[in-house]
Amino acid sequence: MEFTLKIEEKKIVIDNEGTTFQAMTFNGSLPGPLMVVHEGDYVEVTLINPDTNSMPHNIDFHSATGALGGADFSLINPGEQVTIRWKATRTGTFVYHCAPGGSMTPWHVVSGMNGAVMVLPRDELNEGHALHYGKVFYIGEQDIYIPKDEKGKYKSYKSLGEAYADTVEMMRKLVPTHVVFNGKVGALAGKNALTSKVGETALIVHSQANRDSRPHLIGGHGDYVWETGKFSNPPQTDLETWFIRGGSAGAAMYTFLEPGIYAYVSHNLIEAVEFGATAHFKVEGKWNDDLMTQVKAPAEISTSPTK
């Protein structure tokens, strides 16, 4: 399998208030793309650092073995490119990220330089019986740290270099200002809500390269969850909330049983609502009264004890 990743340093808007962020990205998105390969594949990755960028970059694949996950073989300056090859020996979902060394590493990661690889087994996903899915949804979560001015307003920087010192100071407090899915508050909601239908099975791959997260599907469950993301382990079943360790990607399988709007959140609800870690699923289909019904619509509190 061959992949090309082009590194793009760029200023982006990460919320509905127009807050800007000096991002570093693989292929322009925050986080970078999900790469899907199969067990035993040789994965050849060409990394390009155009001369319009200002910094050296590289890539560390958690799915790869040796050379710091490839980081040691892939450090390139602006105007350079490099190709590495690794063998996909272990199945599951894994994070990849930039790791140029020192304080550069966490800064590049929280600036957007991370993504996920899914190595599928040669045989089927299973838990005693084969597990099939209809759609894969990739949720890339990103914690973002944006300095504020003395008035409490988010600062905007002209360049990465200008943003560096303030940003690292924010990062060292470990409290992000934004936690977003797909690069922006609300990126997977409204018109861009994820879609499915009753009876369809979704495989939700959730990656977080830096910080712990706890996905929860409001009104649904994790039928089968590979919380650590590694398919050689049996999945846990019927979970309400699962845990994605910072620096890993997990996978959850769910068959939608009721139509409607589902919120997929990080169930630290402060992060879901205030920091932005919310996505929506819009699910079409036929309602099942047996699973859920409104027996009596909201009304004033009944004074009769029998009602």
């Binding site: 808007v13 919320d15 509905n16 208030e17 127009g18 504020k148 008035k151 409490g152 307003k153 609300g186 909601a189 409204g190 018109k191 809500a193 409001i218 009721e258 139509p259 409607g260 709007i261 589902y262 919120a263 959140v265 609800l269 879901a272 609502v273 205030e274 932005g276 870690a277 919310t278 929506h280 819009k282 699910v283 079409e284 289909g285 036929k286 309602w287 009264d289 409104q294 027996v295 009596k296 619509a297 909201p298 009304a299 004033e300």
Partner: protein, 324 residues
């Protein structure tokens, strides 16, 4: 602009000789923004109105009824939303809560005050009333719909008693059919005027109303059996009708709240001018020509930039006020 204003001024002065506006000299003008904070008087009329709130019938969610709402008296409402600069005057007076400049609220005479709660809006109305000697208040949802005219959206959703998800998804899709990221305020008029001359109705600022959230139970004939109001939640109007808790300044989505929230929360006020409006209306009925002569302009200067020499004067002067 200035010429237009002077023309209006002449007319108003001429009218003032014979009408109840006699005591208004309308002598000053702070700058050329003569259309700012103007009040628009809507003639009596009727609005077809989807009643706000939630409705149930026999213990199930029901479709909100469509009502014809008749306004027998004229309605005087601000031409544009209260500006952040006007709101700031109330802040400077120590009455209103400061605007959230950290959240990027621009304080300018031609930009709306946003990120304000229902309490902030109500506080401003009270302050303005005290300053001006007139009664300013938030419009009711019905009044807002009447003034909004064609900009008022019927928010009925198809109700399927056997499948609550249909209504849910329909509402979500309708709310999602716009840009939640458009929060930057624009100069007044950027979203155009409606047929009544109100600016920026259903632009990117939603407006607070005085109407409480009410749950209604309907009987078989569709009549209201009971009302259960919650005044901790008020109706806000704009591109869609929303119900927002009164102390919220920034309606957020996320978590269980799966709708798309209003982009900005702001407001405009109605002014009670019953004495004069009633008389004007009466004259208008008896002799429309005379009314046109006596009250030739549909809009007039608001409070904040005219001087107040006599008891019938409508307005007050703030710093930076009149330039003679």
């Amino acid at each position: 602009m200035l010429i237009t204003f002077k023309f209006k001024l002449t007319l108003a002065c001429a009218a003032g000789l014979v009408g109840p506006l006699a005591a208004i000299p309308l002598v000053t003008m702070s700058d050329a923004r003569d259309d700012q904070q103007a009040i628009i008087e809507l003639h009596p009329g009727t609005v077809s109105y989807r009643v706000n709130g939630d409705f149930t019938h026999a213990g199930k969610q029901a479709t909100a009824p469509l009502a014809q709402k008749r306004f027998d008296r004229p309605l005087a409402i601000m031409k544009h939303q209260v500006s952040s600069a006007d709101y700031q005057r109330c802040v400077d007076d120590g009455v209103c809560r400061a605007l959230d400049d950290g959240a990027g609220v621009v304080v300018a005479a031609d930009r709306p005050a946003v990120k304000v709660s229902w309490h902030d809006a109500n506080g401003y109305a009270g302050w303005l009333s005290r300053k001006s000697g007139e009664t300013y208040r938030l419009p009711t949802d019905e009044e807002w719909a009447f003034a909004a005219g064609g900009k008022f959206k019927d928010d009925v959703v198809v109700m399927d008693e056997n499948d609550p998800s249909k209504r849910w998804i329909a509402r979500y899709e309708r709310e999602a059919d716009r840009a939640p990221s458009d929060t930057e305020t624009r100069p007044f008029g950027a979203f155009g005027a409606n047929e009544n001359g109100l600016l920026d109705v259903a632009g990117n600022v939603w407006e607070w109303t005085s109407t409480c959230f009410v749950r209604h139970a309907l009987d078989d004939a569709g009549n209201v059996l009971s009302r259960s109001p919650n005044c901790g939640v008020r109706v806000v109007e704009g591109q869609h009708r929303a119900y927002v808790t009164d102390f919220i300044r920034d309606a957020k989505a996320g978590g269980c709240a799966v709708g798309v929230p209003p982009n900005n929360l702001g407001f405009r006020l109605v002014v009670e001018r019953n004495k004069w409006l009633g008389l004007q209306h009466l004259v208008g009925r008896v002799a429309p020509g005379l009314k046109e002569l006596l009250w030739p302009v549909r809009t007039w200067r608001s409070p904040s930039r005219t001087i107040r020499p006599g008891p019938a004067f409508r307005g007050f002067v703030e710093s930076g006020g009149p330039i003679s």
